[in-house]
Symmetry: C2
Subunit: 181 residues, 2 copies
């Protein structure tokens, strides 16, 4: 048998691009942007021996204090076991506490402690700074457009998860004086 068991295809030397009818520039930008966006908290987490999974749990418990394990699983779209490990660590290190559900005592409502709140804020701070800078660079009037765009990128049936969160109630903030420019 000659070395023909795999008939190698011919190398293509022209780059793919927009002419193929596909929005490669934004696809790629999204990849790079998210990579760097997550790199900021990753460095902090490393000091705690935590990973990105811990960050996500911490984030949502801080955003929706009192949410149950089942709700958290639904938001994160992971399995019980994946959550169990990181949640246990966060509870053991006193970043999160569990309280029995008031109506249904089988449920465990998850709350951040002072320590957990502080860590969540510390993790979010560099991300928020990056976003703020990026908004400045791209024109400060774009905030609404960016929000709309990102929200439209989410699967429609899952947008409910976002709307529940206390993101929009007092979005006014007009004339807010955090102007770096």
């Amino acid at each position: 048998m000659a070395d023909r068991k795999t008939v190698r295809g011919t190398p293509i030397k022209t780059p793919v691009g927009e002419q193929d009818g596909i929005d490669f520039s934004i696809i790629e930008l999204f990849f790079f942007a998210y990579r760097d966006f997550t790199s900021d908290p990753d460095e902090i987490l490393a000091d705690y021996g935590f990973g990105r999974a811990h960050h996500r749990v911490l984030h949502f418990v801080n955003r929706r204090p009192g949410l149950t394990v089942a709700e958290l699983l639904d938001v994160l779209k992971i399995t019980k076991q994946s959550l169990a490990r990181v949640l246990k660590q966060l509870i053991d290190t006193d970043h999160i506490v569990q309280l029995p559900g008031p109506r249904d005592r089988r449920q465990r409502e998850l709350y951040p402690t002072e320590k957990g709140r502080a860590l969540a804020l510390a993790l979010a701070r560099p991300q928020s700074r990056r976003i703020h800078t990026a908004l400045g660079d791209s024109g400060l009037g774009n905030r609404a457009s960016i929000e709309l765009f990102l929200k439209a990128m989410v699967n429609p049936e899952l947008r409910a998860q976002i709307d529940i969160l206390p993101a929009n109630p007092t979005q006014k903030r007009s004339g807010d004086d955090d102007g770096e420019h």
Copy 2:
């Protein structure tokens, strides 16, 4: 000694929010958007027994045909071993071929085959569609703003990796041509 081997902190019941000076809404939207953005190709990849790592390699080899292993490692920011596995699979399945570098024969230039090009396009198609829809939903005039924003989210020192790509007409590969003789 009551159960105080760990003195648990008090549960905090108020959600974090923008009043903490942090842009939680966009942080969260970015998370959800990227999660769903990557879920489209993930489903296709599963049919091939491939994962997200294969997708990234395939993407950049198609975007920059002829890039070397070292360049690919630099773009992906992973180690040689992490790349080795997925690259080997992609070569064995004839999605990518290697050619010795013309100037330096130690290098392996990576090129997509017809098959690899087709898969890259198939993976990018639903992502592009999602982007297009989202741009439509958020106002069609926002494309430039979105691009600027995403680019500004990338670490400045790494933006060069993006500029090299054939997204913009200023694609000038420096150095002596690698001409096909």
